[in-house]
């Protein structure tokens, strides 16, 4: 079961809950499970978020695999200047 840490913006959709555990093979399934559990979250908002899987931040993580003990963080996407 991956431990999933929600971003602050997402917490209004989960009633303040900030950590959930989800069993999912990939981020794609994980996100759908989240939306199914918390209908106030919507798929569109995930476009604005990056996902850190075990410390490595990905902008387009949909099909990246998750380990059973992965730590997953949703964080705002960052662009840079140089």
């Amino acid at each position: 079961m991956a431990r999933v840490f929600l971003s602050n913006d997402m917490m209004s959709g989960t009633g303040g809950l900030d950590v959930v555990t989800i069993d999912a093979p990939r981020v794609h399934e994980l996100v759908r499970e989240l939306v199914a559990r918390y209908p106030r979250l919507n798929l569109e908002m995930f476009d604005r978020l990056a996902v850190a899987i075990d410390g490595e931040i990905h902008n387009d993580p949909d099909y990246l695999p998750l380990k059973s003990d992965s730590e997953v963080h949703f964080v705002p996407r960052i662009a840079g200047g140089r």
């Binding site: 209004s12 902008n59 963080h73 949703f74 964080v75 705002p76 960052i78 840079g80 200047g81 140089r82």
Partner: protein, 763 residues
């Protein structure tokens, strides 16, 4: 991923491939491109900071001899498309299009309203002057205070606050978004603190200050195919943005990047490109448009001015226990300041068990901000590192000791959530302590400051091809304009993988039709992410070479290994001489034809970069004039591929930060007009303002990259504001929260404000 430790080419300092063209004047930058039969464009810009456009009359302009086409907002229906390239909602194409050409309202001094193409530049300018615009002038919101006031002039009546809702907020607002990040229990944390420091910080809007103005040539062919030659950090973004804004099929748009004369984030958005395309569509002729310097200042994307209130608490032994911050960042005329990154960077250097940070994205009647080197971080870091300096003084602790005590290390959680992988902040801080600068004596009227800085470093999409020629030389093509020597680094990577001399590798910046899709030259990502694609493409070539060797030797492929830049046979008792790249290359036609290696990837964000800078400042107490007398920049680069260009990034970022700290600022008058849109009064540092900038490259390998590379380009601008402010604190006894620390401000503060309880630095 395993990281290499032995290198033949990486870490050396070859002469860059584009160097000779650049020292002899042959390199072609944006404005150097011309086409036969070309028209010249000129832009009509708003003299008002906030006004409704009542009418536009182009009849007099059309009558000017030589005028061939005029474009106004009416020609381009507003789009609602978005491109989530950079995140933070920064790339809303509707906003970008409205910024390129105003539709209903002008939102800042310099906002483009119309553009003219004519057979001479003079005719185009004359016609632009004759475009008659009737305005309904509105009160501008020029400051955060005014923009946030209950009766503030509203820029976008339809705008609502995104992100984390503001409790109790209703009605029209200038707050485009809000975010929070938090950990633990802040009140309990502060209750535990033995020392609490709090201060307010303000920084003005500042510009990247690249020396090359924006320049574009667009040509629309009779078949509808569009080619845009332009100076940009992202040709693919220009293609997609122009297509989106102008309702075109991106498949018909080709963007060819010129050499780029500096960007620092400012050459990511499109400004002239859509106008030039429409003018070319209307006239049937190529159209060239070049900004002048005042256009660049008034109407491109500087970075946010901001207001930050921050508080930090520590135990007597220096352990941080709590921090809180509220920050308001100016987005300019449209949503999308770097408020999110600012909030996430503020505490990224330290383990703080309890914190609450909130950040607001606020629209004001100033140019829409663009990225500027580590966007958002220099300002919020000014706050954190100033308070760390105050804490060190209150605690009578060495500032490096205090930082080391709280510094994040591998496995610690970043304030924005995830755990850090291998990072180098501690090594950087130890390098500061060991550097002779840190213990050097100071002269009279001199003060020393130190500050740390953090930046994420980007990843994203990159493609590369490596083509091997029969003479054993190679061409590497990527889609990243080369801002600071990345071509040389890419060639070195090919050399490293194939064992051929750097001079025998030709690095080429492709265009959108000749290179595979590649994201921006931004986010400190080129050497890291595109570099990774280059390495993979070279590995692909190497694998093909190995197979050719097997074919030549008529043995099984698994009997051939690649070692020391050569193919070797593993067949026992075999006396075959190893085959070099050039030996195999000479047989290409006979062994199966040309070899092209390719790779494309979507890289995760590079390992975070940490830096620390030491600044010695000398103050003329009678005039408030200060001079930086010694400066040292120390940074974890992961692995420096071409150390000279890594040092160059560190020195350049430091110089920009020093300018920001001491003299640079946008000055607006009461009407909202920019008063200093030129290099004379927008005071960037000149050669005689700066000392040599010493550099130390720390190398803590980034495990996400085969060589351990981290991005290097952005973090150098993060520490300087605080390093200079801390040096100023040390010499004046006064904490400056407001930038720039220009002579009039320094003299006013030092003559009117009481010194704060000053404790001498222990070094």
């Amino acid at each position: 991923m395993s990281t290499r430790h032995h290198f033949e080419y990486v870490g050396t300092r070859p002469i860059r491939h584009d160097g000779v063209d650049k020292v002899t004047g042959r390199a072609a930058f944006g404005a150097d491109f011309s086409l036969p039969g070309m028209l010249y464009g000129a832009v009509v810009r708003s003299p008002h900071a906030h006004a409704r456009i009542v009418s536009i009359d182009t009849s007099a302009a059309e009558a000017v001899p030589g005028v061939k086409a005029i474009v106004t907002g009416r020609d381009i229906p507003k789009t609602n498309k978005k491109v989530w390239l950079g995140g933070e909602g920064a790339l809303d194409l509707g906003d970008m299009g409205d910024n390129a050409l105003a539709h209903e309202k002008v939102l800042y001094d310099g906002h483009a309203i119309a553009a003219v193409a004519a057979s001479t530049l003079e005719a185009a300018r004359e016609a632009a002057r004759l475009v008659r615009i009737e305005y309904d002038v509105l009160e501008p919101a020029m400051t955060l205070e005014r923009a946030l006031a209950a009766d503030a002039p509203i820029l976008h009546p339809e705008m609502t606050t995104g992100g984390k809702p503001i409790p109790g907020a209703t009605g029209p607002t200038n707050i485009a978004a809000r975010m929070e990040i938090k950990r633990g229990d802040v009140d309990a944390g502060f209750a535990e603190a033995d020392v609490i420091v709090e201060h307010e910080f303000r920084t003005p809007m500042v510009h990247q200050g690249y020396i090359e103005p924006h320049a574009t040539v667009a040509r629309v062919g009779a078949d509808g195919r569009i080619i845009v030659w332009t100076t940009t950090q992202g040709p693919f973004l220009v293609r997609d943005a122009c297509a989106g804004i102008l309702h075109l099929d991106a498949a018909n748009v080709r963007v060819v990047p010129s050499e780029i004369g500096g960007g620092f984030g400012g050459k990511i958005p499109v400004y002239l490109e859509p106008l030039a395309i429409v003018l070319s569509q209307k006239s049937g002729r190529p159209v060239k448009m070049v900004m002048d310097r005042s256009d660049v200042f008034r109407a491109t994307g500087p970075t946010s001015g901001c207001h930050i209130v921050m508080k930090m608490g520590a135990k007597r032994d220096g352990t941080l226990v709590a921090a809180s911050a509220s920050m308001w960042y100016e987005a300019g005329a449209y949503k999308g300041s770097p408020y999110g990154a600012a909030a996430m960077c503020a505490l990224a250097c330290y383990n703080v068990p309890n914190f609450f940070v909130e950040a607001y994205d606020v629209v004001v009647n100033k140019p829409k901000v663009a990225a500027y080197r580590a966007p958002g971080s220099p300002m919020s870091t000014l706050a954190t590192e100033s308070l760390m300096d105050e804490l060190a003084r209150r605690l009578e602790m060495d500032p490096i000791e205090l930082r080391l005590k709280n510094a994040v290390a591998t496995g610690d959680h970043a304030p924005y959530g995830p755990k850090y992988g291998p990072i180098g902040l501690r090594q950087v801080l130890e390098a500061v302590r060991e550097h002779p600068h840190w213990s050097a004596p100071l002269g009279p009227n001199q003060g020393r400051g130190v500050a740390c800085g953090f930046w994420f470093n980007g990843g994203m999409n990159s493609s590369a091809t490596v083509s091997l020629d029969s003479d054993g030389s190679a061409t590497v093509v990527t889609g990243n304009p080369d801002i600071g020597g990345t071509r040389a680094a890419q060639a070195m990577m090919v050399s490293e993988e194939l064992g051929i001399p750097v001079e025998r590798v030709r690095p080429v910046v492709g265009d959108t039709d000749t290179a595979g899709y590649t994201d921006l030259s931004a986010g400190s990502r080129v050497c890291y992410a595109t570099g990774m694609a280059v390495i993979r493409a070279a590995e692909d070539v190497r694998e093909q070479l190995r197979l050719r060797a097997a074919k030549i030797w008529k043995i099984e492929p698994d009997q051939v290994v690649w070692e020391g830049g050569q193919a070797r046979s593993l067949v026992a008792g075999d006396d075959k001489q190893p085959l070099s790249v050039s030996a195999i290359a000479a047989t290409l036609a006979k062994t199966g034809g040309p070899i092209v290696g390719r790779a494309s990837l979507n890289a995760p964000m590079a390992g975070p970069a940490f830096a620390a800078h030491i600044c010695d400042l000398e103050l003329d107490r009678e005039t408030g004039c200060s001079k930086i007398v010694r400066y040292t920049a120390i940074q974890d680069a992961g692995k420096a591929v071409h150390p000279s260009y890594v040092e160059g990034q560190m020195q350049g970022g430091a110089a920009q930060g020093i300018g920001w700290a001491l003299n640079e600022e946008y000055i607006f008058n009461a009407k909202g007009t920019m008063e200093n849109p030129g290099f004379l009064d927008y005071r960037m540092p000149v050669a005689s303002d700066l000392p040599m900038i010493d550099t130390v490259i720390v190398e803590v390998a980034n495990p996400s990259h085969p060589y351990g590379v981290r991005g290097v380009g952005e973090v150098p601008i993060v520490p300087p504001l605080a390093a200079v402010a801390n040096a100023m604190r040390s010499v004046t006894g006064i904490r400056f929260g407001q930038m720039p620390m220009s002579p009039p401000r320094v003299l006013a503060e030092t003559t009117t404000r009481r010194e704060e309880p000053a404790v001498a630095m222990s070094s």
